[in-house]
Symmetry: C2
Subunit: 338 residues, 2 copies
DNA sequence: ATGAAAGCGCTAACAA
DNA sequence: TTGTTAGCGCTTTCAT
């Protein structure tokens, strides 16, 4: 258990200055690697810093400079690996530049996102990274009035507040729809999670149906649940869909978790893939590569998106004006399930 | 693109006070729901807050009160779902209490963890959540001197700085070793990632080998790589191990990602599981439930650990003194792969 | 129930 | 090269 008998008041710049026999300003200069400090003074100060174990208080520094070097990162979910990867990409870049990510999780709930945005604005973050282009009116208002750069990620189908880094979900859906149609599939179904919350999955489905329509096709059956997508939901969802519609010859899933779940059902139920049934997902997760039949999917550049989003914020803060919209595109992976 | 023509200086408490015709102090009281404010004044102030879209500056508030309500959360990795789930559990609890998580990722590198700790201390977090009990000497020193509560999670095999919430990895390894021995397995191998970095996986392996020894057994073969664990590494690792040691009758993996990868290899290579080969993992991930043969594994309470860690910090901050060590235990899942 | 004064720990601007 | 002054936006304390 922690001993509470340590110095009741923490060590400040003034303490260091006193020990080093200089003014506080000089200590501040040393810590900021200012040029105009003599080597001798620098050494004295550094010795005092080490001796006291001084850690500068950024609260005070940020209050003065009005630059926090805090970056607000708000993601819809931490329940599958997609957004942690975005976060990882962003964090690598931010950390290297001396910035800190402050995270929020909206649970795919725009009202909750709004509350988080308001709470984070209290910290005056130097930049914002958000998932998606859809926000509540008040959230939009706050973000438009904020003077820090804002990057909306993982979607380019719409108007960004400031900058967007991602890809077109609509296009990804279209590509897969076109692909299945071209492969000769005619009786196509859909299995997804809660589309009213996951707006990007909904956009993929919309693009998918557009492509089918352009090929004179339509969805013959669909399964959606009022719960988040998951492997088990994909497995049970496909089981239900196939039970009700045994004649389907292809199924598009809202993402790879769902699709791999579906593939597992086929393995167990003895449904021949892709002979009798083709399966396709979205995201390009590692699990899709590790399964017995490599999953046909579209790989989203999640890690790069996080990285580039962070880079754009840093560029903007450095006075450069990077492109407003960056579509990183997706990689089509023609696997063995189609 | 963002318009930069907005108010050059942001709205402060003073602005609100002026508009409401009261002093700054009164505005502060209203915002903190102080008792001694008349209904009339409260209404006036609230109207001014709304009219100006005022968001209090927490930097200033925290500087005064020396309470940031920032919680530093440092995890080794965001590359699989394990730590995002811990983070999710912690964040749910923190968010509800008006606290913000500031995250750091150490990449299973204790030196990097030390740098992150030092950087975060500059924000004077109200609490700390870290993975594991092993830290560099300087990291330990900083954390011992910090006056905020510190919770080390995901491991109880060792001495915590302040509090620990987790489970015994050693015991989890022992349990699985004992189980395989009891099931009559005699020629047992191991497949893992980089154990010099993932110290908790190393502890599980140690416990596993202890249990084997107690049953007069030992590891007949092992595969470890200088890279992080992953599905594909598990798949290729098992392939290599079996090629070199075709007589193995069981393999223990460093975690479920690796084990599921291994299972996929068996499915493809036609290795009969569990008849010829038994497989066991650790973590209890959803993927282990969704595969054709439910994976034998031990489920770690990741989400609860994050939650309880956060609760303990809040309890400590509220002046309560919760237990110093909380072992949440693990759930043994006897699946179909053994 | 409300306000005035002081100060949290730092840095920008200016002075020496 | 170094120091002094002022103030960032808030809350604490003490007065009224």
């Amino acid at each position: 258990m922690k001993v509470q008998s340590e110095p009741a008041t923490s060590i400040t710049l003034e303490d260091v200055a006193r020990l080093a026999g200089v003014s506080g300003m000089t200590v501040s200069r040393v810590l900021q690697n200012h040029v105009n400090v003599s080597e001798q003074t620098r050494a004295k100060v550094q010795a005092a810093v080490t001796a006291l174990g001084y850690v500068p208080n950024r609260l005070a520094g940020a209050l003065t400079t009005a630059r926090t070097r805090l970056i607000a990162v708000i993601v819809p979910s931490l329940s599958n690996i997609v957004f942690p990867e975005v976060l990882r990409g962003a964090n690598e870049c931010l950390d290297a530049a001396g910035y800190q990510a402050v995270i929020g999780v909206s649970d795919y709930d725009l009202e909750k996102e709004e509350r988080i945005i308001a709470a984070m604005q209290a910290w005056r973050p130097s930049g914002w990274i958000l998932a998606g282009l859809e926000h509540t009116p008040r959230a939009l208002q706050i973000l438009r009035e904020v003077r820090s750069p804002v990057v909306e990620v993982m979607d380019t189908d719409g108007e960004p507040i400031d900058m967007a880094v991602g890809f077109s979900n609509m296009q990804a859906g279209r590509d897969m729809g076109r692909f299945l149609a071209d492969m000769g599939r005619r009786r196509i179904g859909y299995v997804g999670g809660d589309l009213s919350r996951d707006l990007r999955a909904a956009k993929r489905k919309e693009g998918f149906e557009q492509a089918l329509a352009e090929n004179g096709l339509e969805l013959k059956a669909r399964f959606t649940a009022q719960q988040p997508s998951s492997l088990l939901l994909g497995r049970s969802g496909l089981a239900q869909l196939i039970a009700a519609h045994p004649d389907l010859d292809a199924v598009y899933f809202s993402n790879d978790d769902m699709a791999v779940g579906g593939l597992m059902h086929c393995l167990v139920a003895g449904i021949e893939v892709p002979g009798r049934l083709a399966l396709a997902g979205f995201n390009g997760l590692e699990i899709g590569e590790a399964v017995p039949l490599r999953l046909t999917t579209i790989k989203s550049p999640r890690h790069s998106i996080g990285q580039r989003a962070a880079e754009h914020i840093l560029a903007r803060l450095a006075g450069k004006v990077p492109p407003l919209r960056l579509d990183l595109g997706c990689e089509f992976i023609a696997g063995q399930t189609t």
